[in-house]
Symmetry: C2
Subunit: 230 residues, 2 copies
DNA sequence: CGCTCGCTTGATAGTCATCAACCCGCGTGG
DNA sequence: CCACGCGGGTTGATGACTATCAAGCGAGCG
């Protein structure tokens, strides 16, 4: 994790956008900018909470571990997204998740004390954060139900649709996120091998196409049907 | 759903506790108090959002459906808890979950417009709500991981421990919540029959005891070990 | 040339959902 | 009073799904 000399553009992240004018110099003081390489971790599950991060560039996964080998990717975070907000409010001061870069990342870091102080003062910021939590909670609970009741194939269909919605397309028409099969598996909540097999079925049925770490949806309607009740 | 003449005690619910003094008369105007019988539903998944509810008394389940027969209980709500807050912030104005009374319930209802207006004005209220969301999100994501990676036995052990923590004990030493096996199954995210079998295993191993709809933990340490990584 | 590593495939076993049967107590009607 | 049927609780049998293990394959590299 290196320092980023260039720093924040003042437009991307929530804190900068919603920062009070008179508060801005203080923000500048308390902010630290970092660059992460692919694979580097911003914080790990169980680490003591130090602050909150705003992503300016790149892609991260937010994941929970289960033993040394297994994990569940809870969410992907890209430009403009918040990471580390799960550290707020819990009685324990430990991150309940890890955050790892999937592509080179630029983040700005705000000490938790200062951020909390901002929240106390900046009503608009607090309101936005509350809304953000509300949305996160909705998608999290939807995902819970899917994990409980949906088959792997359904969850994979769902995952691909969500990824397309969140990341859109790159110039080749693929979903604009490069994702290893292992990470896809962790996002779906299954194993590498199962992911592989089910993905092959979807390819055989001409519902999706895959090229390396890139995915594209060929038949959205059929994929959507896979996410229906059996 | 009948009207409740008695109404709110002004101490239990978040809104009353944190209400600004000058705002209190307005709260009284916009509040409606209701009584629900066991089995009655406060709102259903997909209903248009009308407002937010605070529970004064009783017990509710908050659940997501999957087809006509299956559901996942996302959370239990009791005295002092909020229900319907998932309606905030989503772009759609529909409840993403249902809320059903498991025991006779007294709630107070606040129109969403008025509640949102309160949030805009009442900073302490907004902050508490944000913290509440943050905690909900943490437990929700933990539950996600458990659903993805933990066995039914582990999830059942976890569920019983959580219930004990949340509801404490009644005078007979049982966990102070009466829960049908079907509801327990829906909370764990499995079927009725499986719940039954696994529960019997736990009973045979002298880890828990069951009497009708009541449960008690006999060997907390062993139960805790079941929630560990395999 | 041989090695390793990641990708791919096959075989197997464990977990769990599903369906069906059974038991038993209770209410009901003969 | 008894036979009957009904429904909820319980158990058994089966099969689907999926994790796991292990082996094969091929490309890149020392």
């Amino acid at each position: 994790m290196k320092k980023d000399k260039q720093g924040c553009d003042g437009k991307t992240c929530l804190l900068c956008r919603l920062s009070l004018k008179e508060w801005a110099p203080a923000v500048t003081l308390h902010r630290r900018n970092f660059i992460l390489q692919k694979g580097e971790t911003l914080f790990k599950e169980g680490d003591p909470v130090e602050g909150i991060y705003f992503i300016h560039e790149g892609l991260m996964k937010v994941h929970k571990h289960w033993g040394p080998e297994k994990e569940l990717i809870v969410r992907f975070a890209q430009k403009g997204d918040i990471v580390g907000h799960r550290g707020i409010g819990g009685l324990e001061q430990f991150y309940p998740v890890s955050a790892t870069a999937l592509a080179p990342v630029k983040v700005c870091f705000i000490e938790m004390d200062f951020f909390q102080a901002s929240l106390k003062i900046n009503h608009a910021l607090l309101y936005e954060l509350m809304l953000f939590y509300a949305q996160e909670l909705q998608s999290s609970e939807k995902q819970m139900r899917n994990l409980a009741h949906m088959s792997v194939k359904g969850r994979m269909a769902n995952a691909l649709l969500l990824l397309q919605q969140k990341f859109g397309f790159n110039k080749d028409g693929f979903i604009d996120i490069a994702l290893s099969k292992q990470d896809l598996a962790s996002y779906i909540g299954t194993t590498y091998e199962t992911t592989f097999r089910i993905l092959n079925e979807l390819i055989a049925d001409r519902l999706v196409a895959v090229s390396g770490k890139n995915y594209t949806i060929l038949n959205e309607a059929m994929l959507l049907r896979l996410t229906d009740i059996q």
